[in-house]
Every structure is written in structure tokens, then in C-alpha cells.
Symmetry: C2
Subunit: 441 residues, 2 copies
């Protein structure tokens, strides 16, 4: 399932570009060669625009202008994010033929960093769902098993990276939409703290929960891309720096870690991910309560965005999206009022936990990728399960990283990738990446 970029790091690509062993134009050609249409990762390839941008990137590098680690690097962008002159389709019949007039803020940031936009990747319709198989463009397929879900909603971004078509992709994450497909496809996905990468020019799902994030093969590539976009990393001391070094429970070389017990999880997934943090004491958080907060906010804000479309042209939605929107429209206002109050309470509670631990660790997904079209698995209805471990970190706006954590046997044979999720304080993002480095060595 490997494409040209499989096994290549952003740092390695950057070295090749600067050594003249590779050119940005050459990399664009590699992308176009690597696209596996059957996986349905891309909805738009912009060969012409990418070649022009690549030529410019090459000329700049040749003339001594170096924009940093993303200079000349091909990047794919989720199809709910505007790229000027390209269609933004939202995975929906509602946006057939719609062409963006301006770049989204994150696209401007990519271009300023020298990245080369190669095209738009498939998204769950309006980013409203984590399965990756509900879109006017059809299901995005998991490269590890083409009958399996890619996960979503940044489905195509994850698959394009996982299959080696691009070394980096941009996605959005409202309840897990960067981390879910990253875990299902065996790559890394990073949702920064809320607002760190601005969401202007991104079609909103739920404004106060929407995050822009990055997807790459490894956590280190996420780190490189993240800092290329948002500025240099600040090294943050872990809680160990202030300790006597006596070795408390949960101390790992990279910081003090708590294992957050997942409420419902495939036992093999839990065992594998837990084994990565053998010394971490178990802690519990109120996943059920946080889910209620998440739903009240997401549903209320999502229906605000869609109310007129639902009233005027319901038939242009995929049936599954329309059904969820109708549910969303019925979320009562008083539950939103309560959710916003509860959110503050949970934020305090988790801040207390993050005073005692540098990192909270848990599986990203409680299950490996289900089959395309599934709505229920052994553990329960899929819609809720898909965001069960990821959405609390959207509610709280905390930085959350999903890293590949090996594979588990799939029912029916073969192996499917799983992910470990790490969460930390706002501002302590560097601890996530340091931890990830230790996990993968």
C-alpha cells in the first residue's frame, strides 16, 4: 500500500530538496503518480496550480529564499477548507460546483511556509461524522483494508498520507476528525489547542469546537509541520523537572503520565495501548458527562449553520447527514445553557488533573476501523463510539495527539492499525512530541 512518500520524513524531504536530489516540481509529479483513485482520497487534484507553486518554490530555494521545513513540500487540504480557485465541495450535493474565492487562513499559512497545495481531500459530508463513508463523493477507503472505513471526517487527508500519496495533509477536528482517521489509518494526527491555527475560511461544523490540525506519517512530522505553521517550538519543562527525581508513579523519561481509563474499549486495543505506559497510574474522567456537553454544543452550533439548508433542500444531503441534522435541530436550548456551565466545571477538573500530570494517555479509538457502512459494532452504536475518547479534548480545547500504536488482529483476518492518544496543557505541546518520540523508539 506504500506510495512514493511512504517512509519519508519531512526532514528527509527537506534535506533532499536543499541538496538538489529532489525538486518541488519533481515531488508534485510523484504525488500525481502516487494517487490511487480506488482509495478515493482526493476529490480534486490541482496539477496545474501545484506545478506553478512548485516552480516558484524551486526558484525561491535556488535564489536563496528558504521558507523553512515545508518549503516545496506537497500538501493535501481537506475539502471543507477554502483554497482560492479550487472547488470546496464539503462532501455534499449542496456545494456542487462551488469554487472558493479566497484561501482559508490555514492555507495562507501553508503558502507562507512554502508548501505546495496539490489538491483537496475527501471529507465526511460537512465534516459531520467520524466514519468517512458518508459523502456525495462516496466512501473514502482504508488503505489497510479497502472494505474498512477510513474514519473521518478528515478521511481523504488521512488516507492520502497513510498511502504515501503526500507527506502531509491538513484536516479539521470538531470531535476527533483529525485523530479518528489518523488512528484508523495508522498515521499521526495532531489537533492543536483551540484557535492556535485559525479556522477562518473553514466551513464551520461547530465554531466553538472546530480545530484545524495536521496529519502526517509520524508525530515528529506533525511537530515539524505544526511549528512551521505556528512558529518555533518552546521547550516546556515537564513536572519531573521540579521533582526530586525519586520516581513517582506515572514517571516516564518524558514526563509524568496518567492513564485515562476508557469507558468502553476493545480489550485488545486497550491492552496494547496501555502497555505503552506501564508505569502510569489509572485515572478516571467523566466521559459520559463530557459527551453530553459535546453533543449540546455541537448539535446546537451545527444546526445554526444548516437550518436554512435543511428547510429548503433537505434532499441534497446524504440521508445519514440529514438524520443527524434533524436530531441536532431538536437539541433544546436549556441543554446548551447547562452544557456551557458544565464545560467550565470540567475544564477546572481536568486542569487539576493536569497540575498533577504532564500527559493524559488513552487509546485514540476504542476499536479498529469497522467495515464501510457499519452503524453498530459490538460495543454499541458507532456514531457515539467514534468520538467517545476524542471529543472531550475538543470541549476543553486542549492539545491532543494521536500516534500510531501498532496493529491488532482484525475480525476476519489481517491486522488493523490503532492509535494512542496523548493530551496535555495548552502551551505544553512540546511534551506531546517528546513523549511520542519515546513511544515509537
Amino acid at each position: 500500500m506504500g506510495g512514493f512518500f511512504t517512509g519519508r520524513t519531512l526532514t528527509g524531504i527537506g534535506r533532499d530538496l536543499r541538496a538538489g536530489r529532489e525538486s518541488a516540481r519533481g515531488l508534485v509529479a510523484r504525488v500525481l503518480d502516487s494517487v490511487d483513485k480506488d482509495l478515493n482520497a482526493f476529490v480534486t487534484l490541482d496539477a496545474e496550480g501545484a506545478e506553478a507553486a512548485a516552480r516558484w518554490a524551486d526558484e525561491e530555494l535556488a535564489s536563496g529564499v528558504d521558507r523553512g521545513p515545508l518549503h516545496g513540500v506537497p500538501v493535501a487540504v481537506k475539502d471543507i477548507i477554502d483554497v482560492a480557485g479550487l472547488p470546496t465541495g464539503m462532501g455534499s450535493g449542496h456545494y456542487a460546483g462551488h469554487v472558493a474565492e479566497a484561501d482559508a487562513a490555514c492555507v495562507t499559512m501553508l503558502r507562507d511556509a512554502g508548501a505546495v497545495i496539490v489538491g483537496k481531500t475527501g471529507t465526511q459530508e460537512f465534516a459531520f461524522g467520524g466514519s468517512g463513508d458518508v459523502s456525495v463523493n462516496g466512501a473514502v477507503r482504508n488503505p489497510h483494508d479497502r472494505e474498512r472505513m477510513s474514519g473521518g471526517s478528515s478521511s481523504g487527508s488521512a488516507v492520502a498520507v497513510a498511502a504515501g500519496m503526500v507527506p502531509l495533509a491538513i484536516g479539521t477536528d470538531t470531535g476527533g476528525s483529525v485523530r479518528i482517521p489518523s488512528a484508523f489509518c495508522g498515521i499521526a494526527g495532531f489537533k492543536p489547542a483551540h484557535g492556535t491555527i485559525p479556522a477562518d475560511g473553514v466551513f464551520p461544523l461547530s465554531r466553538s469546537l472546530d480545530h484545524v490540525g495536521v496529519l502526517a506519517a509520524t508525530a515528529d512530522d506533525c511537530r515539524v509541520a505544526y511549528h512551521a505553521l505556528t512558529g518555533p517550538a518552546e521547550a516546556v519543562p515537564s513536572l519531573l523537572a521540579g521533582s526530586s527525581g525519586g520516581g513517582r508513579a506515572g514517571d516516564a523519561p518524558y514526563g509524568r503520565v496518567a492513564w485515562i481509563e476508557p469507558p468502553a474499549c476493545d480489550p485488545e486495543v486497550e491492552r496494547r495501548v496501555r502497555a505503552l505506559f506501564p508505569d502510569a497510574p489509572s485515572e478516571r474522567i467523566d466521559f459520559a458527562g463530557l459527551r453530553q456537553v459535546f453533543l449540546a454544543i455541537e448539535y446546537s452550533e451545527a444546526y445554526d449553520v444548516h437550518a436554512e439548508r435543511v428547510a429548503e433542500a433537505p434532499g441534497r444531503y446524504q440521508a445519514a447527514t440529514l438524520a443527524r441534522l434533524e436530531d441536532a435541530g431538536r437539541m433544546p436550548g436549556w441543554r446548551l445553557v447547562r452544557a456551557l456551565r458544565e464545560r467550565d466545571r470540567y475544564a477546572e477538573e481536568i486542569a487539576g488533573l493536569l497540575d498533577r500530570y504532564d500527559l493524559l494517555a488513552m487509546p485514540t479509538m476504542p476499536i479498529p476501523a469497522p467495515r464501510i457502512g457499519a452503524t453498530e459494532v459490538g460495543l454499541g452504536p458507532l456514531t457515539a463510539l467514534l468520538v467517545s475518547l476524542t471529543s472531550p479534548w475538543n470541549v476543553l480545547g486542549l492539545p491532543a495527539l494521536s500516534v500510531p500504536a501498532g496493529t491488532v488482529p482484525a475480525d476476519g483476518g489481517g491486522e488493523l492499525p490503532i492509535g494512542a492518544q496523548l493530551v496535555t496543557r495548552r502551551g505544553a505541546e512540546s511534551l506531546l512530541f517528546t513523549a511520542a518520540e519515546h513511544l515509537t523508539t
Copy 2:
């Protein structure tokens, strides 16, 4: 209909107290003598507590401790506001026998200012409505016509002042609940800017719209009480101070005034109030849109407060309250999301208007007091009509004053009072009182 305090000002009472012509204890006795039970203004009279507080006030004054204009002045407090040791009944069967353990913040402020709390006044059940006739304690009656509504929800506070039982009362105002009964009963009512008098210890109706306010016979008494509670007045220059004095439209001796056209109003009410501002140019605001914002916020927040009571003991509500709460519970969350965004837009729009005018003038109520039990009048359903001109200023949190504006002939004979409403910028409260002084001379 006059009681002992009819025609007496806070300033005059203060003079009498300091000259030894009157004592705080004597004033408490006057209150107890003046109470007209048939009007149903008070739900609790605290003779013992009031006498003790009055004795203390007298002793302080005698010993040279002078707490200012409210020192020794009897005050009535709305029965959704906690006074330690007294019942807080909320006008509801749900709170039968409930006794408050601590003073509300505004009650502490009253006591610090030397005021003597004489008792608790009747409120619309849970302050949820402007008619004044929905309460476990029965209708509060309008002293101008006992078959008419007092208005609400600070019904008893307005009636106690209007009938001269007390010189001052405290109420709350979420959509007009200080100003509505003030206008219906022919007194003045002031809703300060949001948060100026803290609402801690007040049973919430809709936290982000709830305001604590003062009711007195005249605007000047409201001014005296307001500053006694919140600190000395700051004189604010009107827009005229910066003008060449050429006399623009809307210039009155006290500032530049806009007439805000009421969307639906009894013609005689409109004519009388309009005549107070002959030179003010007409402006329009989006009352209908502001009403949608008001409802979305009030309903969502109110049902959050009541959800468990509605589920567990619906029968303890008055039927009208329960019906409104059930409506409130159905307000969708997406409408609240939209309302909060719209509120920001309206705030900008009205700020623009208040850059050009010192004061916005309009009737307080579009009608004089309807008959008790009415739910519909010629202009439409009463629930909406009662807050039509007052609630925008809760949504925007702006200072709003209702001043007596004479009377209009009632259907069926007699005359009924009406009110003029003045609104200004936060911080420019002094302009309201200066204007009111000019209007009443």
C-alpha cells in the same frame, strides 16, 4: 389610594429623620399602618425584624453614624430575593415554607446603606411573566383600579410604593419586571446596567438577562436610592456639551433625544408620551428581531433553572407558569446560538444610535394596565405585548428608566397611569435622571 408615604420624597424623609421630626421606628409603624391587605402587595411583613433594624438605625443616627440617604428608610423587597430569616416564596407552591439562610447581595447593600427591610412583596411566580396576576398568593391589585393588573413580575414592590405603603422597594427585571409594574401603577422604576447591582441571592429567571432595580414614586427617588446603593453619581456630559449649540433636531435642555417608534401601541399612549419629546426625531429599531433574541435566551436559561422541577412536580406550578415553562423547554439550542450572535450585532447597532443620541425615548408599556386575568388585548396576546418595549434593554444590558407620564382614559371609565421609558449608554445614567427631572417639571 394614598398611604403615609404618598407625596413624600426620600430626601424629605431623610431631612425629617435627621431633624428628629421622625424616627426610623416611627416610619416602620407607619408602614404597618399603611398596608392595604386587599391590594395584596406584601406576602411577608417582618414587624419584629424591621423594628429591631429601625431601633439600630435610630441609635446610629443619634450617635452620629450617618449611612446616607437610605439610613432609617423602610424598604420592601421582592419575594424572589433572599432576606436572611424570612421566607422566600417565589410566588410558587414549590417554595412553600422555604426560609432564606442569608441575605442576597442587594439586601446586604441595603442594610449597609442603613435601610430597614420591612417585608417581602408579591412576585409573579418565579418572576416568569409581566402581568402580576399569576402567583400562589393570588393577583396583586393595581391601586388605580383594583380589577386591573398591577403588572409584574415585581408586582408587590410597585404596588407598595404606588399606594404609599413604603417610599422605596427593590425588584428584579429580566424583560421589564421593574418597569412594567412601575408604568402600570404610575411610579418610577429603574433598571440599572446589567450587573451594576449584583444578582447573587436572587432566584434566577434568566441569568444573563436578570437585573436588580429600584422602584420609587419619582425618578429622583430612584436616583437617590440607586446612588445610595452603588456609590456617588458621576455627572456625564451630554452630546450637547460637545456641539456648537446650534440646536440640532432632538436637542432638549438635557441632551439629544431620539424617539423610538413603538411597533404596536395604543394611539393615546403613544400620543401622550411622544408629546413629552416634541423635538426628538423618530428612529426605528428592530423590535421583532430583538424579541427573538430575548426569547431564545430567556427561555433557554429559564428552563435550565426549572427542568428538574417541571419533570418531578409540574402540578406545583400555576397552570400559566407551567405552560410557559413547557414552551421554554422546547426552545431549540440552535436558536440560542443564533440569538447570542445576533445580540452582538444589535449591541453594535444600538451603540451606533447612542453615539448620535444621549437618550432613546419611548413608552414603557404600549397599553395601560389590562384587567386581571386577561391574556389577550386589542393589540394582541398579552405575554408578548407586556415586554415588547422593555425587553430589548435587558438583551443589551443598558440602563433604562420608566417615569410616570400622566394618565389615559381607561375603557370603561376612569384614568390609568402610563410611563415614559428612557434608555442611555452604560455609564451615562445621570442623563436619565436629569431628563426625568425636566419631564416632570
